[in-house]
Symmetry: D2
Subunit: 426 residues, 4 copies
């Protein structure tokens, strides 16, 4: 693997001007200049061959807003002025490519919608052109697309036009109104042979049609909805409550945040998407329906990008006695999300090299609603997710689905792929 240092990975981000994306951009730049250490990057110490070096990742992408990344950083207020100063010159030189948007899918975030005026097929072609140009002009060895745009409205994934690649392509031809921008981005990536990760709750590569398409094309995809704050904590705590046989009677979760994402979630339709991905987590981990699981997200401007979650858990123990746990998480939304985005991109690129196509279930540890092969049930418990992820990272396979399963049924199956045909543009 002596050529690896030279390996250059391009990451095309949907929503490049957003809080998370610009934190990724600034962070990579700071790392490049040695201005920060690697805290917060889960794979900082990983030695797996094939993982792109942090310093060799180049960012680009689309946004509805044309502002350069330095001015976007300023608006989001995630980074202090002094931090921005370290990398201002570099960020000033990056401007997002024109995005495709659809006001019917995300109301609260307005912006230019120039590229929208044409047909879906035209939009897709334009996205694919952007990707091809990015790879060529950047002299990049491979690409990954990560979705980081504002949350779109909830879509019914069981609609017939989403059931198969064929049905979906017909719907595309007909500019079907149920198809949102997030699906178009995913389609453009997959059909370009480029791995695609969806960090948002928007319906995108999780429709059956696109999962199947990715499988057929051998393109790894992963998602959805980055697990950074309250849901992470939930999936860390709940397995222990189950392990100790403490019966959850109710779990009340509220979030206050004041960034642009919070504003988007103030639209009930977008919020529905978010709550949907947060919803079933508990029941799945605990093995029974939690009658009183309540989740709220409130836009609360004083907090800016500093998100705060408060959880109250009521549970019953031995002899029916009641107890409570309260968790107050004062976190930073984009600071938690950005390193995960970077690792997801590196892992998707690694999977590509390993020849693993279709849904990369082993990345489930990073997501609130882990994308699964059609028909499978997601694992939500963080400990088991983490175990599978680390096993995959090391061995190329997750090592059994439960502690008691025999490890390694998939081991040996992969690793065939560093030289795999990277036929398409990615």
């Amino acid at each position: 693997m002596s050529e690896l240092p030279a390996r250059r990975l391009g990451v095309a981000i949907v929503g490049l001007g957003g809080a998370v994306a610009t934190t990724v951009a600034a962070g990579l730049e700071m790392i490049r200049r040695g201005a920060v250490d690697l805290s917060g990057l889960p794979l900082a110490d990983a030695t797996t061959a094939g993982l792109a070096d942090y310093k060799n990742i180049k960012l680009a992408g689309w946004d509805l807003y044309p502002d350069d990344l330095a001015s976007a950083v300023r608006q989001h207020g995630v980074l202090a002025p002094a931090e921005l100063d370290l990398v201002r010159t570099e960020l000033e030189s990056v401007r997002p490519w024109p995005a495709i948007g659809n006001i019917k899918f995300c109301r609260n975030v307005a912006g230019r919608e120039g590229a929208n005026l044409t047909s879906m097929r035209d939009q897709i072609d334009s996205l694919k052109d952007d990707l091809r140009r990015f790879k060529d002009e950047g002299g990049l060895d491979s690409l990954v697309v990560v979705h980081l745009a504002s949350t779109e409205r909830l879509v019914d994934v069981t609609l017939p036009q989403f059931a198969t690649p064929e049905a979906f392509e017909m719907a595309l031809d007909a500019d079907d109104a149920e198809i949102g921008p997030a699906m178009l981005y995913a389609y453009a990536a997959i059909t370009s042979g480029i791995p695609y990760g969806n960090f948002t709750p928007s319906v995108s590569s999780d429709i059956p049609a696109l999962k199947e398409l990715a499988r057929r094309r051998g393109v790894p995809i992963a998602g959805k909805d980055g697990k950074t704050g309250q849901t992470l904590v939930k999936t860390v705590i709940a397995p222990a409550l189950r392990g100790r046989a403490l019966k959850v009677d109710g779990w009340y979760s509220t979030n206050i945040l004041g960034n642009r994402d919070g504003l988007a979630l103030d639209d009930p339709d977008s919020l529905a998407s978010k709550l949907d991905t947060k919803g079933s987590v508990l029941d799945s981990i605990l093995g029974y329906k939690v009658e009183n699981h309540k989740v709220f997200i409130h836009y609360y401007p004083p907090r800016g990008d500093d998100k705060e979650a408060w959880d109250n858990i009521d549970f019953t123990g031995f002899l029916g006695h009641r107890m409570q746990m309260k968790i107050n998480f004062l976190c930073k939304d984009s600071i938690l999300a950005a390193p995960l985005v970077i690792e997801i991109a590196r892992c998707l690129d690694l999977a590509r090299q390993r020849g693993q196509g279709g849904v990369l279930e082993e990345l489930g540890v990073f997501f609130k609603a882990p994308l699964m092969t059609n028909g499978a049930e997601p694992e939500h418990a963080w400990p088991e997710q983490e175990r599978r992820f680390r096993a995959w990272l090391e061995n190329g396979a997750a090592g059994g689905s439960k502690a008691s399963d025999s490890v390694g049924d998939r081991a040996g199956q992969s690793l065939k792929a560093a030289a795999a045909s990277l036929a398409d543009v990615g």
Copy 2:
């Protein structure tokens, strides 16, 4: 295994009149009468052959106080009067056997010390007599001893008299002042061939001499210091912080509790034992020394047996940004502890049947300071502990020490033992 329903397990408890022990006693009695369900019992659904039925467990044991268990329950205030009423008759009929105590090892809890007046050898003989009588008169198939007495002062486990069985026995003969009651109980159990679990922080079977003795005699032992509240939460949360590469800058933990255990911990010497077992947990899980890990326990009478823990965690994420998490756990000390005591006893009995002697490391999930074979390092991370424990339960072996290890290297090794010679009294 058709004879199992008839299998009768006797559990001899050191500290039978205590808050935890009497909760065990009352709870088992309520279960026997069908007055409660099995919430809080981690193995309620386990189907492993050899686990004693909850309804077939009989309790007895020692205490410095001679009060019958009904009046002890009333003093502890863990159970409401209406709960006690359900099982009062049964509890009234149980009185602890006279205990062996030593005021130099536990100051705050006075009581009769009649049995102390003789030599250590005499004390041990008396304990062994108690156990033999319990088994015979109770018509029991096997015994387990669980230590639940008040926390004793910290002892230096590296003293030469604790290094080998031989050195220890010589010290016993000399009534060595460094030997505390908890060691005597452990010695009596092990030399009777009875499994021994230490739920307290006191130094007991964790001296090298007794671990080796248990190994030689083929007697399973486990400990120490039940992991029920704040430390449980700590070992659940810390692995996730590590998984997400969030660097812990400080972890401040305080506990307020108002039961007799709290009073004992108000003696700085006993507290030292407790803090000692809580101490190294974090560093071990995180892989670096947490400079500012502070743990406090305060006796706070208004709270009674309802313990409350408050944790504040400071940590650093991507680009050096700081975040905080605060956890407020309103728990019930004895309600959390009692079901673990029951499961520990059942598992020790299972190990005995399986022929597993020496330190039963796989029970580490239940303890703040997991007892290890001499020389080994304990695993503190709850997810990995839980995985190993469940694998042991199912297969008789823990299934590798890390996610990436191949599962099952120890599988098949055991299970040989249902018919194993239960030669000694237990």
Copy 3:
């Protein structure tokens, strides 16, 4: 005042079967039998002549549900079975009078509505009959009505039919659909010469017409919406933030509760009434508009009558530095409310004796939305409310509206009234 020991006060409660009302009923009965002390009763130590003795208060009232009070207590779960047992016989003998209800004003609480079928005038007559009978048959010296029924939908108090007594009476004659049950109860009390206190957020005696009517008739009235939990804390903390010039940037308040009141508030219309009375409190105390004051109430069954409030306050201090305070109040809704209801009734009765008619502003300390004489602005700061209340209690006047005002402008004005014509039925 030598006849006072004999003074017997009757309190007629609207919503007699509710959680708060039955707690009042059980509590007074326990006090009568010496089973409890007087904790939680703010005037337990008050020696003001004219205050009815707690043991001489007799309860009765209306409810949509006909259940006797013992069975109502059982349903609410505020009191433990053992507590109910102390007073069960007495409570079993009390059944509410048939209520007047209106499903258009309170949807979530169904019940019999027999009395509704007639005209408003008939309904009022029936209420007045109930009161007259209560006084006569009970051998009572005086009556007070306290409103404790489920929260009704928000009503526009500026409607012309609510502007004057005359307009209101015409609207009554026309069975105006904007008139809710709470107004009918208030009207019946006032026109019976009986003091009326509104502990609920429902629009009732706070329409200008009824305030003026009470003034003309010389009947003291007070309200509205008992200040027991989060709002109490808010009005205690906010004045200190103002005193220290700490600028509130946001105040996020959420409440979880699982009692029948919580269920009623799950109807957005009823909730609107509640939030309305909670809303302006902060701005009024702080002297500026708090941009981000958010208040939520969520129905959360595991909590039962144990309400929990969580507040997060963001504020700015010297040199623009930001700080936070979080308050977690684990309270018992009815336990906090019941003693206030008792004291409000005693104070209204005292005011009646003192000849003070119209809005009794000095009781503002007990309410989230203090009822004011038409045109006046309420004082919300708890410290100033408490000062005025205590001064009124002692001297019959509140002693100036601000610390710097000269005390006593109203002193001497009253106290004329023990012998005042108690002409009407009350």
Copy 4:
């Protein structure tokens, strides 16, 4: 008062290089340049004649460390580098005068102790020289001394040498070892005719001898121990609990902080002083002894100057039901303290002009242990303190000691004093 704009107030600070003092210095400088608004300054809107304008206050003072104030600011980390930059030039030009110290009174903070080598009389003379020079060279109209040095060890204020001015002066002549530096500073100020405020918990002007001396000399003094964080909250909440007759069963308070003050408090002797001033507050407000009032302060470096307090209050309400309140205050120690220091100085200067000598009890609102005229009991309840303070500010008198007292018994008594003989140096 047309000459007021010209009035120039000098504030000499003991502990000029400390976190609080340097925040005062930087803050006044920022205000002078219009770089910040007046948030956090309780008297920003006060219009009382005689209050020095914020822009006309000049700082100087003593410290054991000779560093200029800019470098001290950098060490404390209270202000961000960008904030310091605004006023760096000014702060760089200020260096503390050599202090008098005594390692027997404050262990943890070492520094030069040059001035210590001489007799106490010499030390006092040197302090008085410093003050005279400051006034003359600065062209100042008046001076105030504020004590902000590290907390000294607890001293027994009932020792005979502290009983009268005469006894104290004899002890001074004898270089009595019980006399600490804080007393020397106070003595120097009082005998210079300069008002003296003690913001620390150290024993200083609160010995009877110095209170009497201040009275005789007509010099206003105030103290002690600034009430900024947890104790402020305590004295705000407790009166409301009393008002609602909620019986406090226990109040557990813990503090974590990581600044130099925290380090000093890590010395048990200094901590004793601090806890002493925090102790009696609750009992005094509630009117009974709180059995379980626990207060802890822990040095916790990750927090720096950001202090965090966590309080848990257990209380009993109606019918003996138990409730809890938890308060988590994330505050900034020096940011809360600095504006109070400024206002205390302005008020002491105002009192001087008004001719009010001796203990200025009306400033009690600013202190954890309000200094009282010998024999009097302090008022701890924040609402009543605030009322008295605001009344004094407006009228020159506190307006009665309780809500029911007639306001103004002391009004008119003062205000005689703008032209009062400012005979001494101050």
